[in-house]
Symmetry: C2
Subunit: 383 residues, 2 copies
C-alpha cells in the first residue's frame, strides 16, 4: 500500500511539475515499466486527478500516443503571498496554472496580524466563490522566519511581527476544511525555481530574494536546508560590513547583507527619492549617479555571493525580487568580488542566473506547499 | 540480500561507534527484534568481526547478558593526517581504538607531493610491519580541498599544493590492495565529532578547525554538506573584514575569516613571536597584551560564527584545533558578536562547544573513512 501510494504521488508530481507527459516518458523518469504507468494512471484517472488525451500540436499520419494531463480546473489550491508591499492571493490549478488572482497593496489600515488575515481571507473568499472544482489545500508565503508545523511567524521585522500565530489564525479564518501550510518567501522561491524555473535540475541551489529585506532559500542535495529548527538560510543578516559607518538594519544591527543591498540601501546610495525600478532604469540609461548607486550595492552583493559560494559550492545562484534588476546591471561588480573572494575550485561550476519566475516565485512555491498533501497521497487526500 | 548486507553493516557500525553493546540495546537502536540481532551477530562472528562476551565491570548475582564487541585487534585501518605542521599515521582498530601511531614534524626536506607520500608510506610500513590481524582500508586527512572519488588535492595553500594527485599516489605507493580514501581535515573532524565527540546526536553541526588556516565541516541533517562538487564548507575564506587594512590571506585575498582568526593573525595581534599556546597561556595568566590579542581574534571569530548561525541554524558549533584554545579564552567576545548579529530565533538552540577529540579529530575521521567499505558490506569486503 505504501509503495502504491508513493508511486501514485510520484506520477502525479511529475505531471504537476512538468505538465502533460506520455506514458513512455513517465516510465523512464520513474524507472518503472509501462504497465505500471498504465495502472497508476488508471487509478488517478478514476478519482479524476488526471486524464489522457492526444498531445496538443501533433499532426500528421498515425495515431499519436496519448499524454497524461493534470486536471487543473478540477483540483486547485489557494496560494497567498504576504510580501512587504502587497498581499497576493491566487487560485492555482494542479499542474501549476494560475487560474485567477487578486492583489492589494499593503493595507493603509495597518499590517497587524488581524488586518493581514482579514485582507487575505476576503481575497480568498472571492477566489473560492463559485469556482468549479475542489480546493485541496492552502499554501502561504510570508516575508519572515516561520516555525515549521504551525506556521507561526517567529520574526518578521519588515512588518514588525514577532511570534504571531499566522498559520493558525489564517486556517481558522478561512475555515475551508483543508490544511494551511506557511513558508518563508525566499525558501518557497528557491523551491519554485528548482521545480519550474532558473534552477531546474540543479539540486545545490541558492536563491536570493530582495525587497526591503534580503531573504535566502538554499537547497542542499535538492532539499531545503532547514537546520536544527527550520530557521536556516538567513542570508540577509550575514554581516558583510563590520565598519561603524555601515548602514543600519531593521534587525537592530548594522552592515547586514540586507542593510547594504536591500531597497533602502539602493535608494540611499542613489541620493534618496524614487524607486528601485526608477534607479535601475536610470542606470541602464547611463545616468552616472544611478550607475554608481547600483554598482555600490552590487559590490556588497558580490561579497555576500562570494561568501555563499565558498560555504555552499552551489551549482547555481539565482537573483530574485529587486535583486534580479540589480544583478542585471551590477553583474560586473558581483563578478569581480566573486573572482577575488571565492575559491576557484568552489566557483568553477557555479552559474549565476536571473529568476525566471520573477515576483511570483514565492506565490508559486506557496501553491506547491498547498499541493503537498495531495501529492504525497493522492487518493487518500481526496477520500 | 541488500537488506541483509545493510543490516549487517548497521550492526557493525553501532559497535564500531559505540563500543560493546548488548543485544537488547542493539535491537532497540536498530528497530528490529532480538532474534534478528542474534542472527546478524552470528553472521558477523562467523567471519570474525565481532565476539560476544560478558560486559566488563559487571559483578553480583545472576548471569549478566552478553555484549557484542568489535574485534579491534583483528581488523584495523591505516589512518593518516597531513596537517600543516606535522604528518601523523596510526593503526586504528575496529571500534575506534588507536592501536599504534607515528608522528613526524613537517619535513625539512619539503612538503611536495613526493616527499609527503614517501614520509607517510614509511610510517605506514612501520605500522603494518608484523602487526597481527588484517588491514581493511586506508583513510587520509589533508588540510585542503579534496576532489571526491580520487582524492586529488585541488587546492591546499598551506602546503602550496594545487591539483596534486595525492590519493592516487598514496594508494600506489602503499600498495596494500585496499581502498585509499582522502578527505578534508575539517570535514573529517566534523564527522568524527558527530560520531564520537562534542556533536554526538546533533545532526546539524558546524565544526571549525584552526591552525594556520581555518577549515570548516558542516553537517546538514547528519550528512556532510558537499555542494555541487564536494567543495562546500570553505568557511575560512568567508570575507569578514572588507577593509583595505584587513590582514592578507594565503589565498591571495584579504580579510578572510582565516586571515583574521588563524595562527598568523593571533601571533601578529600578539606582537610577533611565540606560539599560539604561549599567547593563550599568557592571556589566561592575565597578561594584558595577550588578552587583547586573543580578544581581537575572538571578535572576528564571533562575526564568522554569527554568520554561520544565521545561515545554518545549527544545533552545535564546535571549536577545534587552535580555535579550541582561542575560544576557551575569547568566549565573551564570540558571545557578544553572536548576540549582536545572529537572529535570536536562529541562535536560541545553538550550543557552543569545545572539540572533545582535540588534535586527533581529523585522524579519527580519516580512520572512519578507511572503515567505510567494511561498514557498508562487512562480509563482502572480507571475501
Amino acid at each position: 500500500m505504501g509503495r502504491q501510494r508513493s508511486s501514485l504521488g510520484g506520477l502525479l508530481r511529475q505531471v504537476h511539475v512538468s505538465g502533460p507527459l506520455s506514458r513512455a516518458v513517465l516510465a523512464e523518469r520513474m524507472g518503472v515499466n509501462r504497465s505500471t504507468i498504465l495502472a497508476l494512471t488508471a487509478e488517478l484517472a478514476g478519482v479524476g486527478l488526471v486524464r489522457e488525451e492526444p498531445p496538443s500540436g501533433v499532426s500528421g499520419a498515425g495515431r499519436p500516443s496519448l499524454v497524461v494531463c493534470p486536471e487543473s480546473e478540477r483540483f486547485w489550491v489557494l496560494a497567498f503571498d504576504v510580501a512587504v508591499d502587497r498581499l497576493v492571493a491566487a487560485r492555482v490549478g494542479l499542474g501549476g496554472p494560475v487560474l485567477d488572482r487578486r492583489e492589494v497593496p499593503r493595507s493603509r489600515a495597518g499590517v497587524d496580524l488581524d488586518t493581514v488575515v482579514r485582507d487575505l481571507v476576503a481575497m480568498g473568499r472571492e477566489l473560492v466563490g463559485a469556482a468549479p472544482g475542489r480546493c485541496v489545500g492552502v499554501g502561504a508565503s510570508y516575508c519572515g522566519m516561520i516555525r515549521p508545523g504551525d506556521g507561526m511567524v517567529r520574526y518578521g521585522p519588515e512588518l514588525g511581527w514577532v511570534d504571531q500565530a499566522f498559520g493558525t489564525e489564517l486556517r481558522k479564518a478561512l475555515d475551508l476544511g483543508v490544511p494551511v501550510v506557511v513558508g518563508n518567501e525566499a525558501h518557497l522561491g528557491a523551491l519554485a525555481e528548482f521545480a519550474r524555473g532558473a534552477g531546474a535540475g540543479c539540486p545545490d541551489l541558492i536563491y536570493l530574494h530582495g525587497d526591503v529585506g534580503v531573504g535566502g532559500g538554499i537547497l542542499v542535495g535538492g532539499r531545503l536546508m532547514g537546520g536544527e529548527s527550520g530557521y536556516g538560510c538567513e542570508v540577509g543578516h550575514m554581516l558583510v560590513n563590520p565598519s561603524v559607518s555601515a548602514r543600519p538594519c531593521l534587525c537592530g544591527s548594522r552592515g547586514c547583507l540586507e542593510a547594504e543591498t536591500g531597497e533602502y540601501a539602493l535608494l540611499d546610495a542613489a541620493g534618496g527619492g524614487g524607486s528601485v525600478a526608477s534607479v535601475v532604469r536610470a542606470a541602464v540609461a547611463g545616468e552616472v549617479w544611478a550607475g554608481r548607486a547600483v554598482a555600490e550595492i552590487g559590490d556588497w552583493l558580490g561579497i555576500g555571493v562570494a561568501n555563499l559560494i565558498n560555504l555552499f559550492n552551489p551549482g547555481v545562484v539565482i537573483f530574485g525580487g529587486m535583486l534580479r534588476d540589480v544583478y542585471a546591471v551590477a553583474a560586473p561588480q558581483v563578478g569581480t568580488r566573486i573572482e577575488r573572494h571565492a575559491m576557484p575550485v568552489s566557483r568553477e561550476r557555479a552559474r549565476l542566473r536571473l529568476s525566471e519566475l520573477g515576483w511570483d516565485a514565492a506565490l508559486i512555491g506557496a501553491a506547491d506547499l498547498g499541493f503537498g498533501g495531495l501529492l504525497s497521497d493522492p487518493v487518500g487526500a481526496l477520500s
